[in-house]
């Protein structure tokens, strides 16, 4: 058993080392894969706040992932074509600046999470899972039937969006950017978890009646967590679309919701670094087993089953000793 802090630090260092090595042997594809895992991890960290800490099993996080993707697709395609998004009493232009795109993704993700949360957080258990799934599917079918942004074909952009001072088309630099975002999200999530808000959110998952009895509005608490969760997953969606230079309705599909959930469960529910572990393992298996057989999901399913049955804290829980809750 490794102390959790050491494990977490080691994991980040190993990712960096792997990318340096890949760069040294000139395997840019490996760097792209690592970037993919890092972005998936951010999406998973978003879901983990709702699912892991708050006990809200959302099966519709693809909605936020896709919204982030389309925030990128819509802004970038207009900027690319020199056509304004809206040209009425005010003119809104597209943008190829990642900072602008991220901001729009965060705001749009937050607003949609607020609406979905308001409508679905009054339910729990299977009903909550079904309602969130239904919202996710609504976005999927809407994006397919919306011709303005390619319908089923989605939107392709030719150049990755820019970030001040970086050449984002360079694989390593784009990785570094995503890695920095991941680190920032981890730091914020760690602080959130140690705060009174985190304390209450963890409590509401376990004993909601007590939380009300001490005068804390549980619905408001869960809604706030759900909104932050949606925002983080939307940010990951914007990065994912930029990684592929492409966004399509596939980002809204329910299988994405399932995959994000797999990162969390595989890595460790309610563990800060759980989604990162889960995403890295997922991308690794997808690459290695996916190369051997189209049916590699069978092995993924088997692994997931083993984790659910025998390792409650996921892979992270298996390998680490949880440190004191505060120190």
């Amino acid at each position: 058993m490794i102390p959790e802090r050491l494990f977490n630090g080691g994991l980040l260092a190993a990712l960096l080392a792997f990318v340096f090595y890949a760069q040294a042997v000139d395997e840019t594809y490996w760097i792209t894969l690592t970037t993919r895992a890092v972005i998936f991890a951010i999406a998973g960290i978003g879901l983990n706040l709702a699912l892991g800490y708050g006990g809200m099993v959302s099966f519709g996080h693809a909605a936020f992932f896709g919204i982030g993707g389309y925030a990128m697709g819509i802004l970038a395609s207009h900027a690319q074509g020199y056509t304004p998004i809206y040209d009425g009493w005010v003119t809104i232009n597209g943008s190829q600046n990642m900072l602008v795109i991220w901001l729009v993704a965060l705001i749009a993700g937050g607003i949609v999470a607020l609406l979905i949360g308001l409508l679905s957080l009054r339910t729990t258990g299977a009903y909550f899972i079904m309602i969130t799934l239904a919202f996710g599917q609504m976005f999927y079918y809407f994006s397919i039937s919306w011709p303005a942004y390619g319908g089923e074909d989605g939107v392709i952009i030719y150049l990755r969006n820019g970030f001040p001072g970086l050449n984002t088309m360079d694989t390593v630099q784009f990785f570094a950017l995503c890695f920095a975002v991941l680190t920032l999200v981890l730091v914020l999530m760690g602080a959130l978890n140690r705060s009174a808000f985190g304390l209450a959110l963890n409590a509401v998952r376990q004993t909601p009646e007590r939380v009300e009895t001490v005068g804390i509005h549980t619905l408001r608490l869960k809604l706030t967590a759900f909104v932050i969760s949606g925002m983080i997953t939307a940010l990951a969606g914007a990065l994912f679309a930029d990684l592929n230079k492409y966004v399509s309705p596939a980002m809204f599909s329910w299988s994405i919701s399932g995959e994000i959930m797999i990162f969390v469960i595989l890595g460790g529910v309610a563990r800060l670094f759980g989604p990162l572990v889960g995403a890295v393992v997922f991308v690794f298996l997808e690459e290695v087993l996916g190369g051997l057989s189209d049916y590699w999901h069978i092995y993924l399913g088997l692994l997931l089953l083993l984790v659910v049955l025998f390792a409650k804290g996921g892979i992270t829980g298996l390998l680490t000793r949880k440190g004191a809750a505060h120190d």
């Binding site: 376990q206 001490v214 005068g215 706030t224 505060h326």
Partner: protein, 253 residues
């Protein structure tokens, strides 16, 4: 009892289909007193508690707290007004430590839950206060232990500690001695005796020794109805109470 009551339940009724769980229940809690509510199993004590605490809305009647009609208020609103409730079945947070459990109550009281990125432990005064509540309930040396790892008696005391931390205007204690042995029950009895000076207590309790040792007044609930309210001696000699409730075990008196 010339004071005005802190908590006043006026003729509340509640039925579930054909079962009338509360029937014109009225009771008052005055400053400084311990008012015990007793009654056999199934008498409707839990239903009454839920209506007072806010989880359940009465069909008719009203509940006044500190002169304000709280009948339509939620559990959260009543808690913020100063209703400190403890649960019959310990509702502590199993995966959190004793200190974290008490801090949760303190953050609830201070309404500091929505400061998202500030450590729950950053307010030294609050942490110090949490420790004093723990010490008072004899949990001072168990601060870092998870609630799930506590012994039953310790969990009962943590339950009280969290109610204490709210600095309530009224304690609403649902069988604080449930499942405790003689030793444990005596400790809680002493604690409650000292608590009454901070806020009056509405005590739902099965332990007759404790009830007759502590209560200034006792109300007896049978089939959803209060059949008698009075001092210890009045209840002890009340024939209706003896027949309905205490007859089966006269030694209890």
């Amino acid at each position: 009892m010339t004071d005005t009551p802190v908590l006043s339940v006026r003729k509340i009724s509640k039925s579930f289909n054909a079962v009338q769980a509360s029937k014109d229940v009225s009771l008052d809690l005055y400053p400084g007193e311990i008012h015990a509510l007793i009654g056999p199993n199934g008498a409707g004590k839990s239903t009454l508690i839920k209506q007072i605490a806010g989880g359940l809305r009465p069909d008719s009647g009203s509940i006044h707290f500190l002169g304000q009609d709280v009948t339509a208020l939620s559990t959260v609103q009543r808690a913020r007004l100063g209703l400190g409730r403890s649960f019959q079945i310990s509702a502590v947070i199993p995966e959190q430590s004793v200190l974290e459990n008490i801090l949760l109550a303190l953050h609830g009281r201070e309404q500091s839950v929505f400061s998202l990125f500030k450590s729950a432990f950053s307010d030294a005064a609050l942490v110090a206060e949490a420790k004093t509540h723990a010490i008072r309930t004899a949990l001072g040396d168990r601060l870092e232990i998870k609630a799930s790892a506590l012994a039953h008696g310790e969990r009962r005391r943590l339950e009280l500690s969290m109610a204490l931390a709210l600095r309530p205007k009224v304690f609403l204690l649902d069988e604080p001695m449930a499942g405790l042995g003689n030793e444990g029950a005596r400790e809680i009895t002493d604690l409650l005796e000292s608590l009454r000076h901070e806020a009056p207590i509405l005590l739902i309790e099965h332990d007759m020794d404790a009830v007759f040792a502590l209560a200034d007044r006792i109300s007896v609930l049978v089939y959803g109805e209060i059949i008698a309210t009075g001092t210890r001696d009045e209840i002890r000699t009340n024939t209706a109470v003896r027949e309905a409730y205490l007859g089966e075990d006269e030694d209890a008196l």
